[in-house]
Every structure is written in structure tokens, then in C-alpha cells.
Amino acid sequence: MIAASSISAARDPQPPRPPLVDIDIRRKHYGDRPILDSLRLTLAPGEIVALLGPSGCGKSTLLRIAAGLDRDYAGTVAYNGEVQRGPSPLAGVIFQEPRLLPWLRVAENVCFPQRARGDALARARSLLDEVGLRAEDGGLWPKHLSGGMAQRVAIARGLFTQPQLLLLDEPFSAVDAMTRMRLQDLLLAIVDAHRTAALVVTHDIDEALHLADRIVLLEPAGGARARPASRIIEVGGARPRRREDTARSAWRRILLEGLETHVQTSQTKA
């Protein structure tokens, strides 16, 4: 992956290096209903961006477009300056639910679609260790895992292909509050260790504040202001941030106000 970026740099020796991912959506709609409109989002290597917004604002759609799972839109997604149609090998996707294949044991799930043999199995084991599971857990069926454990396995699987970018769709919304905090810290540790970038979709303000370098506030398209559809809020201070940081309440207030205007506009619409 490092090789890939250096190759593109060699081919294109101009100093302005393209961002790791450049999502440029001119228009996306379901039937007559516009979802995303004139939205551009770029991520630099190692950067964590949170996509925050009320449900139905199109944040999951944006993530699916970035993942190449939704190709029915006007615009482009470029990885390292190269336009990508369909899923990119540079991106690992982690869904809201673990989506483990129930007929594969945990280690086999981690190396999917490779067979759990030799190097692949060794890598799967070390990734399991990294996400806080024991080597023996690799032999369990997914049905034996708790929600938090299963999501850890999903994270390990997302890392298996050594992606430069992790795309996470409300990854911790289905687990309890304690587990969520642990998994958030795990994600931060992993992003630092693997130097990957991450785009995290969430509706949890505190999660966004805890994880992100930048927070993108998404407003439902076709609201009071037709466009632009998104606002980008920079969160100050370097990671890791402490949960009890007092500066957070100020950010939280700004985000809440941002969200509330959305709620008001959507309510007046209805």
C-alpha cells in the first residue's frame, strides 16, 4: 500500500499529492428524493473523519458510495487520485452489525476470503490478539460470540487486507455503552498502529468528538437551504483526547445546535 502511493507519486512528480480518498458527489437520489447534493469530502492518510447527522440524512449512503457498494450516483470517488468504480482494495469496510459468516470459524472469518492456512492463519491470529481476543477464540463459531466480541472480529477482518482507509458505518451503535467506549479506544489504537485513515459514520456526538480529527455535519438534502448540504467542523486538540476534556462541552454545544437546525428544518417540512 505504501508502495502503491509511492508509485503514483513517481508517475506524477508534482508536489501536490492527491488525498488518500476524494469523494465528490454531485447528486444522489432515491427515486425523486434527493439524498446527497454537491458534497465533497477528502481524507488525508491517517486522518479520522466522523460523519455526523440525523438518521435519513444520507451519511450511510455516503459511506456506501465511498466503499464502492453504491454506484448509482453522479460524481466520482478517487483513491490516491485514481477514480474508483466499485470497491477499492485500499478500503476496509466495517458495518453496523458484525456480518460474520456463521459457517466459518472466527479465524476463518478474519482471513475471509482467503482460507485459514499458513501465513493467513498466522496473520488472523495476530489480528485477533490485536483486537483483544485470545488465540483460542479463533476456533469458535460466531454464534458463541457476544456482540462486542463479534464486532472486534469484524474489525480484525477489516484490517486483514491492510487497508489504507477504514470505512465504518455506525460500528458501535449496537453494543452497550461500556463496550462502545472500549471499542472506540480500540479503534483509535488500531488507527494509530496501522496508520490507516478512517471515515466513521455515527449519530453519536460524543463518539464523533472522541474519535475524529474532523467532524462533517450532514444536513438532509433539500432542507431549508437547498445547498450546500454539509458543514465541516474541525475538532481541536490532538488525539488521543480524554473523555473528560472540558473543551468538549463547547464542541458538543456547537454540534447540537447544528443538529437542531436540521431537526427544525425537517420538522417544518413535515
Partner: protein, 303 residues
């Protein structure tokens, strides 16, 4: 049976053990999934107590004993219902070798016909499950073919293939085909869209998507179809052997009828029941082994 019992305690118990193990396995952090949601618990096959399962196995024996007593007491006329002891004697007189010959012959026909029919059904069913066009093209014909009664095929097959093994195996294959075909079709259709999407994330080719995701996900459905297909195969093999055969349990049945031997007729019926039950149990064991990952049934032997 005792081993099985020890490996699979009652539902509530196994869940408690599972929860305990999960807690141990993850003492460091996440809350383990202790309580199974009500819906899931409802889907779990609750195991009847051991005594009742033993009673279930003994019930046919008790039934035969009662018949024996009733026939001996002349409550039931013995020209219509031979006493079970007479049936056993009749089978004994046929000789183990003759009996084995008939059993092996029928079993071989079932095995060959079922294998051909089921294999073809998996291929055709998968094709129709994956391609809407193929499905639209073939579905009306298959529905019509499925509606044809087994016996209606017999004269046609005899006409085309003579009275050799071929028409019998073909008839069994026809019988096995449709239940398996239907189950593969619905299995492939009902695969969770989210798992298919996972295949898209990993850019799996159509073939790899089928082998790595669609087929395993469809397996629970497929096994249901295989078990139905196997039962139907036993029905069809008798239909085939009733008409034109010199060996097999169906032949034994029709021979007993022609020679006025109800004891042999009933003997053949009992043997058919036994064989059907045995092959179904074997298929069930295979299913339990292959589908050990399923979250619905009581946990398997794995710990």
C-alpha cells in the same frame, strides 16, 4: 445416546453454560450475550426429556406387541392382519441372503437415483436461483413436471428404457429432484443480502460468491430438501419395483400380494419403514455435523 445426552443438556442449561463460558472467555471486557432473545429461543428446537425419546423409539415395538396379542386373541382376523411373529417368521424363512439381496437392491437404486436427482437439482436450482432469466424460462415447466404423479412416469420410462435398471433409477431421480430443486432455489434466493454485500466488498467473482457465500448460506434449506428428497426416493423406488422387477422390496411386496402372502407384504412394509427411518437418521446426522455452526439448534459437541 448417553453420550449425546451429556453433550447436549437441556436448552436452559446449555445456555447457562454457554454464558458462563463466554464470560470466562471475555473476562477482560465486553458484556457477553447472556440472554438469548425470545424469538431466537423460540426457534431453538427444545429437546424432549430422555425418557420421552426412549418411549418414542419403543412405541412401534409396543404397537406390534399389541397387534400380536389382538391377533392371537382373534380380535383381528389373521388373514387380513398377520401376527407380527408370523411376519418375522416369514421373513426368516425367506432367508437372510434373499432378504439382504432385496434390501441391497432397493437401497442401491435409491442411492443411485437420489444421488443423480439431488446433484442435478442442486445444479439446476442454483442456476435458477442465481439467474432470474433462467428462472423465468424454466419455472413454469418445472412446476408442471412436478405435478405429474410418480406412477404416470412408469410406462413412459419402461417404453424408453426397457425393463433394466435405468428406468428405475431414473424414476427415483425424478422423485428426488423436485424437493431438492425447490429447496436449493429458495435457499439461494433467501440468502441475507448483507452477506452477499460482503462478497461485493471483497470483489468475489460470481463463482466464488456462490461457493463461499451463497451455497453455505443456503445449506440449511438444502438439507431440508435433501431429507424430503430421500423420503420421496423410497416411495418412488417401490413404485418402480412394483411394476417390473425381479428383486427389491417393491418386488417382494408385489410378489407377496400375487402369491397371497400378507405376512410377506407386511414384512416388506416394515422393512421399508425401517430403511426409510435409518437413511433419514443418517442424513440428519450428516446435517447436524455439516450445520454445526447454526445458531438455531441446541449446541453440538463442540466446546
Amino acid at each position: 445416546m448417553a453420550v449425546e445426552e451429556a453433550a447436549a443438556p437441556s436448552l436452559a442449561e446449555s445456555d447457562a453454560i454457554g454464558a458462563r463460558r463466554r464470560t470466562d472467555a471475555f473476562a477482560q471486557g465486553d458484556t457477553p450475550r447472556t440472554n438469548v432473545p425470545a424469538q431466537e429461543a423460540g426457534a431453538q428446537a427444545e429437546r424432549a426429556p430422555r425418557a420421552w425419546r426412549m418411549a418414542g423409539a419403543l412405541l412401534p415395538v409396543v404397537f406390534l406387541c399389541v397387534v400380536e396379542v389382538l391377533v392371537r386373541a382373534r380380535v383381528l382376523p389373521d388373514n387380513l392382519v398377520p401376527a407380527p411373529s408370523e411376519i418375522a417368521q416369514a421373513l426368516w424363512q425367506l432367508g437372510g441372503e434373499t432378504l439382504l439381496k432385496h434390501i441391497v437392491q432397493s437401497t442401491a437404486r435409491v442411492a443411485a437415483g437420489f444421488a443423480c436427482g439431488a446433484l442435478l437439482a442442486v445444479v439446476v436450482g442454483a442456476g435458477m436461483g442465481l439467474s432470474r432469466r433462467l428462472d423465468a424460462l424454466l419455472d413454469p415447466s418445472f412446476q408442471a413436471l412436478r405435478a405429474i404423479p410418480s406412477l404416470a412416469w412408469v410406462p413412459v420410462l419402461l417404453l424408453w428404457m426397457g425393463i433394466d435398471e435405468a428406468p428405475k433409477i431414473t424414476l427415483v431421480a425424478i422423485g428426488a429432484f423436485f424437493p431438492v430443486h425447490l429447496s436449493v432455489l429458495s435457499g439461494v434466493r433467501n440468502v441475507d443480502r448483507k452477506l452477499v454485500e460482503l462478497g461485493a466488498v471483497y470483489q468475489l467473482s460470481s463463482w466464488r460468491l456462490f461457493v463461499r457465500i451463497l451455497l453455505p448460506a443456503a445449506l440449511p434449506h438444502v438439507f431440508t430438501g435433501l431429507r424430503t428428497g430421500l423420503a420421496v426416493s423410497w416411495m418412488f423406488v417401490v413404485a418402480a419395483e412394483l411394476i417390473a422387477a425381479t428383486r427389491g422390496l417393491g418386488y417382494l411386496l408385489s410378489d407377496g400380494r400375487e402369491t397371497g402372502r400378507p405376512d410377506i407384504v407386511f414384512g416388506a412394509i416394515i422393512l421399508l419403514g425401517l430403511l426409510g427411518k435409518l437413511t433419514d437418521s443418517a442424513m440428519k446426522a450428516l446435517e447436524a455435523h455439516v450445520l454445526a455452526w447454526r445458531d438455531t439448534s441446541v449446541e453440538g459437541a463442540r466446546t
